[in-house]
Structure formats: C-alpha cells, structure tokens
Symmetry: C2
Subunit: 527 residues, 2 copies
C-alpha cells in the first residue's frame, strides 16, 4: 500500500527528491513494523536478594513471641469448623474437643520439620517457573478486589472485561511473576462455574504460574485438572510438581472455616502450594499490640501449616504474614503504616527460624493514585523486602485496602517493583566497575560524559524507569505538567494495545475447552 503523501512543508532533513524521501520513509516504516518499539521495561527475571534480611527484635524477644504462639496453640487452641479437618487433626495427634483443637509443642515442632525450605513453582512456560524460598522474590498481581477503577472509567463492580484486561496487564508486565488470584472478582459470571472461566482465562491470556481459590475441595480439583492440562502433565506427574497456588485465610481470631480447610487439604494431598495467611488486624481481629498480633498470626499460621503437613508430610506451604493495624477512631484497616512495617520484619524474622517461604503484600489504603497511595506502597514493600519476603501478593494494582483494583495503580506499582528489582541487582565490584581507568581519563573538575569508560556502558548502566518523569521544570511545564497518575493511564493503554497472548498448543486449548464445557454442563461445583 502506498504511504500517505506528506503534507506540504513537512520537514525533511535530507532534502532529497520526492521518490527518495518516500522510499526512505517506507523503509523506516518497514523497520518499525519488523521490530515494533514496545513499552520499554526490565527483562523477565526473578529478583534475588543478596543482602541479609533485617532482624527487628532480639533473639530473646523472638523466642518470647514464638513461645506465646505455642501457648495459644497448646492452651487456648484453634477452632476448626470443617469435619474433615477435625478428623485429620485428631488422627495426627492433636487434642480435639468438639471444634476446638489444641496442639502441643512437640507436635508442632515435629510437623514444622517436614516443611520444604524451598521449592519450584512450575508454569506452563518453563521460563516463568518461580523459585519460592532462598533469597528469591516473586511479585504477584492484585487479587480478589470486589471493585475496579481507572483506565478512564469510574469505580465499578468487578466484571469479566476488567478481569481479563488486568490479567493481560499482569502478563505484559515482566516484573509481575504470577497473577495469584482474580485481580478483580468477575461477579457477572455465575459463582458455580466462575472458577472454570477464570482459570481458563489465566491459562490462555498468560503463561505464568496458576492459581485456584480454595473455597471447598471441588474448585481446587477443577483448577488442578485445568493446570494439569495446561502444563501437559499426567495425573501422577502433577502430584510431585507444585504448579498451582492458593491462599488459605484463617477467620481470625483463632478459627478456620470448613471450605477453606477442605481446600487446604485438597491442595496438600495433591502436593500443591498452600499460602497460609491469617489476616490479623491489630486492634480488631487481633490484640492491639504488634507483638500480640504477630503471636496470634503465628499460632494461626502454624496451625494451618501443621494441618497441611499432617495431610502430606513435605507438602509445599508458604507462611503468609498479613498483620496490620486499624484506625482506632473508625475501625478502618490501615496499611503501609509503621506497625505494618514492623510486623512485616518481625514475621520474616520468625519465619527464618522455621525455614520456610514467606508471603507478604504491597498494601495501601489510598482512594486515589496520589502521593499517599505511593508512599503506603513503598513502605509496604520496604517492610516486605527487608523482612525477607519471598512472595509479595497484591504487588500491583491494590487500592482502598483491597476493595478496589486500579489500572493506573498497576503501572505505578510496576514502577515501584522494577525499582525494587533493580535495587536488588548485584553491585558489580571489579576492576572495570571501580573505574580507575575513567579517573585517569578525566581531569579534576571535568566530567565523565565523554569518557571511554562511560561510552562503553551508558546505554545499560542505569535503571530505565517506565513511569518516572525526570524532565526539568520548564520542559515539564511546556508538556502540560503531567502528573504520575495521568502518565500511568497512557502506559496502561499502551500495554493493552500492544498485548499479545502467549502461544498455546491447540491440543491443550481443545482439551481445556472440553473440560470447561463438561464441568459447565454438570453445573459446576455443588455449592
């Protein structure tokens, strides 16, 4: 197709004849088509923390918190509402009295010994496999928000269109390592088959590790079968290969409901990953002190972890820490607070004692993509990263204390996560990086812009942001004073426009479609 004629007066640097100009422009366009300049971002990779996590209390204080949680488990007990869990706990040697379950210290200790310190979570694209544990870090998309906002629409209830767009963003952003739940709950889909559509979407729209919700065993069995199909595994193979993750929440204080533990047990039986996460808001569902809230969190988490190990010794688990505080005037949850940071570090310190992977979150309360949303998120990440967290949930797009997923916040958070990932990159310290050759090149009071040492490295020397604007004030003024939220909107649109679904074997696609159709015909899950 002939390119459009340039309007009269269009600048043309070369000043060649019309034919020459057109053919140069055509060539430039062909080059651009061949290698479209996609949104620049860091390459896919899991960050690895190379410095020690920060201990925030003394060893004595840590021991006291550990002992307080064991006292809660031994003397007060945890209530389990599910009959299957109660049977399993009784058989495993816990003291079961009605729905109250007490765990003596030796029992807890024995079962903590079988928890894997580290494991690999498999994705349908092996390039996206994740290491959990060690010093590896994985960032997950916002999950489970009931509402969604942004990308030029106002705040609205969760729905499939936004669900899919947010999943696409999670796939496009290299710094997001897994989706880990529905970014927003698609309430326009029927509850009994919603998980089928959502897991199928996650398989087709992404090639990162998969997630199922543990609302009873049936949803887990469906999600696991779809994961098996997506990864091309046999039923035997899938039992020895962690490839599905779920989050198990306690109903704090000191209670697990039946569907959750049914899901937990189904996951553990299948050798899949339970992220066991009490949600202990100090002052509301937990004591009003950091030490007391973390002691309760620890008792609840250990109870769930012991149950998983009773079901299958060695079942992969992640200890989820989610202790924050409430605003004592309103009862509203608060995140990114000093107490949240302290709890994140304290939880990490406890978990290093137990030698298992640690899940934290990028949590914020802000209602707008403004300074507050940003600082609450960075403070949350500070707590998580320095606490040694391995899995950071809700890492991109969480707003309003989890009540809303937001497109522009996804981009803001992607900038934060890329910054953290680049901060975690090793600092090269060797003869070339120490740069004595550059010092010899440049005279006192001179500059390094033109030094050979600089020219050889400048293109990749520093982190290249996706959102930050480093314009001087005058240029920024001329540009219309763009603020971060507006720039994030444009980047989200660009990523969605550039989105390409990852390749999927047509045979797998067909098998998946057949499974979903069959389960839908059966009516989905029974409740």
């Amino acid at each position: 197709m002939e390119p459009t004629e340039p309007p009269e007066g269009t600048p043309d640097a070369k000043g060649t004849g019309r034919r020459g100009r057109l053919s140069a422009r055509r060539k430039a366009r062909q080059d651009a088509t061949a290698v479209p300049a996609a949104q620049p971002q860091r390459p896919r990779a899991q960050p690895v923390r190379r410095f020690p996590a920060t201990p925030i209390v003394s060893e004595d204080a840590l021991e006291a918190i550990h002992q307080a949680s064991l006292t809660i488990l031994e003397d007060l007990g945890i209530e389990f509402l599910g009959p299957r869990a109660l049977d399993c706990l009784k058989a495993g040697g816990a003291d079961v009295s009605g729905q109250m379950v007490r765990f003596d210290r030796a029992l807890v200790d024995r079962h903590l010994k079988t928890v894997p310190e580290t494991f690999t979570l498999h994705a349908r694209n092996p390039d996206n496999n994740l290491v959990f544990g060690g010093h590896h870090v994985a960032f997950c998309m916002v999950a489970s928000a009931p509402n969604v906002s942004g990308l030029d629409g106002g705040r609205r209830s969760g729905n499939q269109k936004d669900f899919r767009n947010l999943v696409r963003l999670g796939q496009s952003l290299n710094v997001i390592h897994m989706i880990a739940g529905y970014p927003v709950e698609p309430i326009d889909l029927p509850p009994r088959t919603r998980h089928l559509d959502c897991v199928a979407d996650n398989i087709r729209l992404t090639d990162k590790p998969l997630y199922g919700y543990a609302l009873g065993a049936e949803r887990i069995h469906d999600s696991l079968e779809m994961t098996r199909i997506a990864l091309g595994l046999t039923e035997a193979q899938v039992r020895d290969r962690p490839c599905l993750t779920t989050v198990i929440n306690a109903n704090s204080p000191r209670r697990y409901d039946g569907p959750m533990t049914d899901g937990l047990m189904a996951m553990a039986e299948a050798g899949q990953v339970n992220v066991i996460t009490p949600f202990t808001l100090a002052g509301a569902m937990a004591p009003v002190t950091v030490a007391g809230a973390v002691a309760q969190q620890n008792a609840e988490a250990l109870a769930g972890i012991v149950l998983a190990q009773m079901v299958r010794p060695g079942a992969p688990v992640v200890y989820g820490g989610f202790t924050s505080n409430v605003d004592m005037r309103s009862g509203a949850p608060a995140f990114g607070t000093p107490e949240y940071m302290q709890s994140s570090l304290l939880t990490g310190q406890l978990i290093r004692r137990y030698r298992m992977p640690y899940r934290s979150s990028n949590a914020s309360t802000g209602n707008a993509v403004d300074a507050q949303a940003a600082y609450e998120s960075v403070f949350s990440l500070w707590g998580a990263v320095m606490g040694g967290a391995h899995m950071i949930k809700h890492a991109a797009g969480w707003m309003e204390g989890g009540l809303c997923a937001n497109y522009e916040k996804v981009i803001l958070d992607a900038e934060l996560l890329q910054t953290v990932a680049a901060f975690l990159d090793p600092i090269a310290v060797d003869e070339p990086s120490l740069a004595l050759s550059a010092q010899r090149e440049v005279a006192p009071g001179g500059h390094f812009f033109g030094a050979e040492h600089t020219k050889a490295r400048y293109a990749t020397a520093f982190y290249d942001p996706i959102l930050s604007n480093w314009q001087g004030y005058e240029a920024w003024l001329e540009d219309g004073m763009p603020e971060a939220a507006g720039r994030a909107n444009a980047i989200a649109k660009r990523l969605l426009a550039e989105y390409q679904p990852p390749p999927l074997d047509p045979a797998i696609d067909a098998e998946l479609e057949a499974f979903v159709a069959r389960r839908k015909a059966e009516g989905g899950v029974s409740e």
Copy 2:
C-alpha cells in the same frame, strides 16, 4: 458575644431547654479556646535505630572499593584551589604539587583515627540537642533551593518571606530536628549580609541547632559568633562544644575550591561540624558505575576529612554521601533511583568501617507533589535508614532535584519522616504486649475492640498520621475526593497559623541585634 441561634431542626442529643443548650455550647467553645487543639503530631524526640544497618556488598568488595579510593588519593590526587588548604595539607605531610595533593595510605589511616565516632550538637534549647553517630537519626529541613512553590502561590524565586515561613514550618514540625541551611535562598537579601539576617532569623524563629554556609571563613566567623551569642557561651566554651554545622561540597570530580576549604578550616579550628559531602552523580561528575562513583566519593570525602583532622585532630565531621545517577539520555540528575539506594547502603557500609557519622538525603526529582515525588522520597529514605544514616538532609520539602522547596512537600515528607520514626520505635515484647490475657478474653471468630487489653491501650497504640486519609471510598467521595497534595496544603496553613516563636532571652536578642547592626554597618563579608 451571643452565639448564633442554631437553625430549626438542629439535632440536640440531650433535648434540654434552649438556655441549657446555649450555655453548654458556650462552655464547649470556651474549653476549645482555652486549650486550642494544635495540629496533632509525634512528640519531639530523635529516633534511634535498634536493628542493624544493611551491608549490601561482601567484605571483600568493600575492601576493594576502599582500596580504589585510596589509590585515587595516593596516585591521582585531589586538587585544592585554596592556598590556606594547600599550606595546611603540605604541613600535615601530604604530597603537594602545585594545586594537586596526593595522600599516601598511612597518612589517611592516621587521620581517620582522630575522627570522633559520635558527638552532641548543641541547640539554644538543650531539649533540642542532637546526638550524631551511634544509632541516632536526625532529620533536617530542605536547604539551598533557589526556588519555592506551593501554599497557593506558583513557582517563584527564593525570597525572605518564604524563607521565614519555611523556617517556621521547620520549627513547628517536631519531626524536623534542625533547619540545616536556608530552606530557600532569599535572593532579595544582599549577598554580603544575607547570612547575618538568615542566621538571626534561625535563632529567633527556631530553637533547634544552627547552621552556617561555608562560603569563605568570614561567613563562618559571623555565624559562629551569632551562635555563641544565641547559646550564651564564652568564646572559649564554644570551641569545645559543637553547636554550628556546615556542609562542605567537593567540586567533583576530585577538586575542592578555595572558599569551601577556607570555611572548612574555620569550622574545624573552632571545633564545629563539617558535613563533608561530595556530590557524585554517576555518569556526569563520577564514573557511570555505582562502585566507581562511590570510590570517587570516598576519595573526595576522605580528603576533606583528613584536612579537617589536620587543622584540629578530633574536629567533629560527618561523612556526607550523595551519589546518584543521571538520566543518560538527557544528563538530568535522578534521585530515589535503584542506584541511589544502592549507593546509600554502600556508603553506609564504608562509613561503618571508618566509625564516623553518616549524612544522607531525602532526594526526589518530581515536579509535582504527586505519586512520583512520594515514591522517590520513600526510596531515598529506605536507602538512608537501612544504610544507617545519622543525619538526613533535605528531609522535608525538597523538589525538582533540589531546584525548588515546596510547602506541601514539607508536609508530605513530614508524614514520611513520622512514619519512619514510628517504624524505628522499639517493639514492646513483654507479658502485657504478648497479650495472652486478651486471647483469653476473646473467643474464636470474635473481635478485640471491646477487650480490656484493647481499652487500656487503644488511644496511643498506633501511629496517628498527619496526612494519610483512611476514609472508606464512600466517605472520601462525599468529602470531595481530597488528594494528598490538597490535604498537605491545609495542614501547612494550619501550622503557620498556629506557629509561635520560641522564647528568647531579651538580652541575647539585643546582643544579636547589635552584632548584626555592626556587621551590616561594616558592609558584611568582603566578598
């Protein structure tokens, strides 16, 4: 004056007669007048970090950087443009060749041994004395910005009115421990006497520690005499009591100018605090690698520190780390970047080896009080705090990479600093805080709002923010969707309205006035 009649239908809980209602309302108003509810904030106190700072490279790598900086000092040298500094360095045993000064390893090592590991900086109000070193942290106001913006005015050149207002904010905010420079340069004041007006303002408008600019020895002598008067000390006493601080910048790479080192020497002679701070932007005034830029920073800082120790062994110094990177596309400085964070941690690790106080900064590039300004600042604070910084300059109000001071950014930063300070508070771990009594009070699935343990503690249990808005979305919507920058504006106005100058002995005030009048009559400094 009679209170306004309440409109018909105004709810009145008690349902008493009109007279009773009015008199109750009058009483409430009188109570409010008697004890005006000032802007709530944390009490004055210097935060103390109780956890270890983070080492970011191996001991071997640290040694390699240390050795590279010693090689720069020994083989390449640092240029000093000031004749007094050259004389002093030569007399002290350095190898002086023209303006180039080389320091052998043994010489550097010997002079590092006399640097105090910790000292107290005295204020005219002893409650505001600061500990430098150990695990103490001090936050300083933005300094040296040529422009100012916010509080409803657009961006404008620095001037005395804004200078004074920003100094007042720095006095009012408990989390600001010292002003440490002119928050904005009052260019409407004549340069030769500007320091007299500014130091006098700092003495009268605040009772926190004082600062003088080291542009030659004369300004230092004037500033020190005013400080002596303000603190009511004799000339002999002031020489043994650190009470004045200045920042000494190198003209990186590898050069100190004459007025700066004249100021440094005057400060060191008087036993006052030199904060020796190379400004090493990787890729511009320093090599394009973090290790190379920090090695150069280290060489420059150690050269200045050695000079101070040659002038007076044991002179208090602070090692200022200010390594960041430039945007390699535009050459513009960038702050709060991953490289900035890495440099902050690496600098702290080096300084712990030398056992001296460490100065870092809360730096950001943002042009607006938006998400970017917030995240760059928190990332900067993350680097500073985990790097073990003792003095954090530009901690409140820095914008545009230092080219502008901003009122709303002061409040945003005050929220960040208060959060950091509360995060650094010790976590209580004892029987009451472990809260087993509360666990016994609350049944599984219950809540802790009404527990005795909660009721005894809720009022002071958690950090109470000054800027963060924890409203639910609906309430926030009804309130007109206030964003952080707008809320910060209202808080800055309130603080200025509530500002009260700290008491000053009239005799001191008169002596200060006479000194300023005499020095103005003399024409101020000679250049």
